[in-house]
C-alpha cells in the first residue's frame, strides 16, 4: 500500500461533542444580554463624548470600526443563543420510514454514496472507498451503492494519468464520469443524481473517510419527513503536531554539535509550538457555530460528510428550473415580441435551461442550503449532527490554505451581493440572521485593517482618536471587554479558540483581496483544494503582515525615544497603544509562522 504522510495520524481519535448543558446556556444568555447592554453603553459614550474633535479623520474611522465589530458580537450572541440537538432515531429500513407512501408499494430504502474526485491521488481515493465499503447497516435488503464520480476522466484513456477506473473496478464500486467539467463539483453531483436512484445520498470528497457507523447514526433523522439533509462535522485528523522549541532552533540554526544541541534541548525542550499551525481544526465552527444553528433550523450544508434526501434536492432543482424559465419568459414578454416569436424563443429557453440540484457556484453548499431553507411550501429542515462520523485531510501549506479560504470568502460575498439572504423571502428571521452572520464575518477585514493601522497612525502622528485615555474610557471599555470575553468563553465552552482568534486577525489581507475581487465583479472560481503537501511560495501572503509589524515596531521605537527625551505629548496614549500592538503582533505572527513552518519541515 502506498504510504502517505497522514498514515502516522491514523490512530488519532476524534473529539467528543460538547455535552449540552442547560445551566451553561442560561449563563450564556444572561452574559450575552449584559455584554450587548454594556456594548451599547460603551459605543454611546464613544460616539457622544469620546471623539477627539481635533482628529476626527482618525477618530471617526476607528469608532465606526468598533461599531461594526460590535455588530458581529451581537450576531454571535444570537447565533449561540441556544442549543437544540435533533433527536436521534434508529436507522431507516423501508421507504415508508422516510416518506409517505401515498399508496405505493413498500420497499427497502436505497442509499447512494458519492465520492467526488478530480485530480487526487487514486490511492488516496482508494482509502476513502475502502472505508466507505466498511460502513455497516443493520438491514441487508437496503441497497447501498458506492459511486466514484471522477471529473478527471481517469478511465485509462490517457496513459499519462493514473487510472481511477481501475481502482474502482478493483474495489468493485461504481465508476462514473462525464465528458466535461461544467459546474465543477456541483455539476459532477448533478450528473450523478441524473443517473442514480438512491432515496438518500451521501456526499464525500476524495479524502473523506467515513466511519463504519456513518449511515447507522445519520439515516434515522430522515424519519422526520421534512429533514432535507444532515451534515456531520468535518474532522481534520492530520493537523500539525506541536513541535519542541528546541527542535525548531536546532533545525533552523542547523546545529550539529551534540553538546550545543543538548544545551538547547535542556533550555527550550519543554516549550512546544506550532500545534495546528494553520488553524485547520474546525471544531469551533461545527461544534459551536453550526450546531447551535439547529435552534433556528439554519445549519447549512458543507458538502463532504453530509447525507441528503433526494426528493428535497430535486424539488429545489425543479422549482429553480421553473422559476428561471418563468423569469426568462417574462423578460421576453416585456420586450413586446409577438406571440409566435415568444413561443419559439420559449422553446429555445426550455432547451437551454437545466435542472441543477446543487447551485453552480463556488459556495454551492451554502447557496443551496439557503434556497432549501427558503422553500416556504416544503419548509425543509437541516440537521447539524453533533458527533464526528468521518475524517478528512486538511491543507498542508499556507498557499493552499489561503486559496481554499479565499474561495469560501469570495463565494459567500458573492452570495451577499447577488442573492443576499436578508432579502430572500421564505427564510425566518433567525435563519436570515444566521446566514447574514456568516456573510458578515467576511467583511471583517474592513474593521480589522483599521484596528491594525490605528496604533501606527498614533505613533507617527501622535494624534489620539479619543479625547483622552482617562478613567472614563476604562470605565466603559473594560466592563464591556470583560463581559464579552466571559460570554464568548461560555458560548465556545470546551473548545480552544486561540488559533481561531489569531487567524481572524491574521486573515485580514486575503479576505480583503477576496472582497475587492468580488466588488470588481470578478467571477469566483472553484478550485480544488489540494490534498497533501504542496510546497508553494508563501512570502507573497505574509508581506502585508511583515510591513504592518515592522511599522508598528518602528513606531514603538520612535515613541520610545520621544519618551526617553521627555517630548512625548501623551504617555497614557503610548501605553494604551503599546498593549494593543502586542495583541496585534501576536495575532499577525501566526501566519508568518505558518509560512515558516513549511520551510522548517522541508529542511
Amino acid at each position: 500500500m502506498k504510504q502517505f504522510y497522514f498514515h502516522k495520524f491514523e490512530d488519532r481519535k476524534p473529539y467528543a461533542a460538547i455535552p449540552d448543558n442547560k445551566f451553561r446556556t442560561l449563563f450564556f444568555q444572561f452574559a450575552g444580554i449584559v455584554t450587548i447592554a454594556l456594548g451599547f453603553a460603551y459605543l454611546y459614550w464613544r460616539w457622544r463624548f469620546s471623539l477627539n474633535p481635533n482628529a476626527l479623520w482618525f477618530a471617526l474611522p476607528l469608532v465606526l470600526a468598533e461599531s461594526l465589530s460590535f455588530f458581529s458580537t451581537v450576531m454571535i450572541v444570537i447565533n449561540f443563543w441556544s442549543n437544540k440537538d435533533a433527536e436521534k432515531a434508529p436507522p431507516v429500513h423501508f421507504l415508508s420510514d422516510i416518506e409517505d407512501l401515498d399508496g405505493r408499494l413498500e420497499r427497502p430504502v436505497k442509499i447512494d454514496v458519492f465520492i467526488a474526485t478530480y485530480n487526487e491521488d487514486v490511492e488516496l481515493v482508494r482509502q476513502s472507498i475502502l472505508d466507505a465499503k466498511k460502513m455497516k447497516y443493520p438491514f441487508s435488503d437496503v441497497i447501498i451503492k458506492i459511486y466514484v464520480l471522477d471529473d478527471g476522466r481517469r478511465d485509462g484513456r490517457d496513459s499519462t494519468k493514473e487510472n481511477m477506473k481501475a481502482v474502482a473496478d478493483e474495489e468493485c464500486v461504481e465508476y462514473m464520469i462525464r465528458e466535461h467539467n461544467k459546474g465543477y463539483k456541483a455539476g459532477n453531483l448533478k450528473n450523478a443524481l441524473e443517473h442514480t436512484k438512491g432515496d438518500l445520498f451521501v456526499i464525500l470528497d476524495a479524502d473523506t473517510r467515513v466511519f463504519p457507523n456513518f449511515l447507522i447514526n445519520t439515516t434515522g433523522y430522515f424519519r422526520k419527513e421534512k429533514v432535507a439533509w444532515v451534515q456531520t462535522p468535518q474532522w481534520f485528523y492530520d493537523t500539525t503536531e506541536a513541535q519542541k522549541l528546541s527542535s525548531i532552533i536546532n533545525a533552523r540554526l542547523k546545529i550539529k554539535n551534540k553538546y550545543l544541541s543538548r544545551f538547547v534541548n535542556i533550555v527550550f525542550g519543554k516549550v512546544k509550538l506550532n500545534e495546528d499551525i494553520f488553524g485547520n481544526d474546525p471544531r469551533l465552527f461545527y461544534d459551536a457555530i453550526l450546531r447551535k444553528r439547529n435552534f433556528y433550523n439554519a445549519a447549512f450544508c458543507c458538502g463532504a460528510g453530509s447525507i441528503h434526501r433526494r426528493e428535497a434536492t430535486m424539488s429545489l432543482a425543479i422549482k429553480d428550473f421553473a422559476d428561471g424559465l418563468k423569469k426568462l419568459e417574462t423578460d421576453l414578454i416585456g420586450k413586446k415580441i409577438n406571440t409566435s416569436e415568444i413561443n419559439d424563443k420559449k422553446n429555445i429557453l426550455l432547451l437551454e435551461q437545466e435542472i441543477i440540484p446543487f447551485k453552480f457556484h463556488a459556495s454551492e453548499d451554502i447557496y443551496t442550503s439557503i434556497m432549501l431553507h427558503a422553500d416556504k411550501e416544503n419548509k425543509w429542515e437541516s440537521i447539524q449532527h453533533a458527533d464526528i462520523e468521518c475524517k478528512m485531510l486538511s491543507t498542508q501549506d499556507l498557499d493552499s490554505w489561503i486559496k481554499q479560504h479565499q474561495r469560501y470568502a469570495a463565494g459567500s460575498l458573492d452570495i451577499a451581493f447577488k442573492d443576499n439572504p436578508i432579502f430572500i423571502k421564505g427564510l425566518s428571521l433567525g435563519q436570515k440572521i444566521c446566514y447574514f452572520s456568516t456573510i458578515w464575518s467576511y467583511f471583517a477585514p474592513l474593521w480589522i485593517l483599521i484596528f491594525l493601522l490605528s496604533p501606527i497612525v498614533f505613533f507617527f502622528t501622535l494624534s489620539l482618536p479619543v479625547k483622552t485615555y482617562s478613567f472614563d474610557f476604562l470605565k466603559y471599555f473594560l466592563p464591556f471587554q470583560i463581559m464579552n470575553t466571559i460570554t464568548m468563553a461560555l458560548g465556545c465552552w470546551g473548545i480552544s479558540t486561540k488559533r481561531g482568534d489569531q487567524y481572524y486577525i491574521s486573515s485580514f489581507w486575503f479576505m480583503l483581496m477576496a472582497l475587492i475581487s468580488v466588488l470588481k465583479g470578478k467571477e469566483v472560481k472553484f478550485n480544488v483544494t489540494p490534498k497533501g503537501k504542496h510546497f508553494a511560495k508563501n512570502t507573497q501572503h505574509i508581506l502585508p503582515h511583515i510591513v504592518i509589524i515592522s511599522l508598528t515596531l518602528l513606531g514603538i521605537a520612535y515613541n520610545g525615544v520621544l519618551m526617553i527625551k521627555g517630548y512625548h505629548p501623551c504617555v497614557s496614549g503610548f501605553f494604551a497603544n503599546f498593549f494593543w500592538c502586542i495583541f496585534n503582533i501576536i495575532a499577525l505572527s501566526i501566519m508568518i509562522r505558518a509560512a515558516q513552518w513549511k520551510a522548517l519541515e522541508t529542511d
Partner: protein
C-alpha cells in the same frame, strides 16, 4: 454486461410507453423515439461508465420508481399516441409522481422538443396537476 442488459430492458420499458394504438402511428413514433432511445444501447460497451446528457434517457423513466399506476393496467407501461407532431401520454392510471419523476418528464419534453415533437399529458388527475402547479410547472407541462 449486467448494466447493458439493464439499459436495454429499461429502454424497452420506455419504448413501451410510446406504443400507440395505430400501427402506422406506432411505427412513426417508434422511428422518432428510436433516435434517442437506441443510440446509447449501441454505444461501445467499454464506455458504459460515461454518463452524459446525451444518454440521459436510457431507462430514467421507470414507472415503478418515480411514477405509480394502479388498476387493471398497472404495469411498466404508460399508454401513448403520436399524432401530427404531438405525443400524447395517458395519465389515467398514474396516481403518483415524485420529484425525480417530474425531472425525468422535463428531460423527456426537452428531448422530444429537439426532435420537433410536442408532448401532451391527458387524463391527468387533479392531484398530479396540483403537484405540477406547486412546482411552477403548469406552463411547461401541457396537461388536460
Amino acid at each position: 454486461m449486467e448494466a447493458i442488459l439493464e439499459v436495454s430492458l429499461e429502454s424497452d420499458q420506455v419504448f413501451q410507453a410510446f406504443i400507440s394504438e395505430s400501427q402506422k402511428l406506432k411505427m412513426e413514433s417508434e422511428n422518432k423515439i428510436n433516435l434517442f432511445l437506441k443510440s446509447p444501447v449501441n454505444e461501445d460497451k467499454g464506455n458504459e461508465h460515461i454518463k452524459d446528457q446525451s444518454e440521459k434517457f436510457n431507462g430514467n423513466i421507470k414507472f415503478d420508481e418515480v411514477f405509480q399506476e394502479r388498476g387493471e393496467y398497472s404495469s411498466n407501461e404508460l399508454a401513448g399516441i403520436y399524432f401530427e407532431g404531438t405525443q400524447y401520454f395517458d395519465f389515467k392510471n398514474v396516481y403518483f409522481i415524485n420529484n425525480t419523476g417530474i425531472a425525468n418528464l422535463i428531460d423527456l419534453i426537452k428531448t422530444l422538443l429537439r426532435q420537433g415533437v410536442v408532448i401532451k399529458f391527458v387524463n391527468v388527475s387533479e392531484k398530479i396537476k396540483d403537484k405540477f402547479k406547486s412546482m411552477g410547472l403548469e406552463f411547461i407541462f401541457n396537461c388536460s
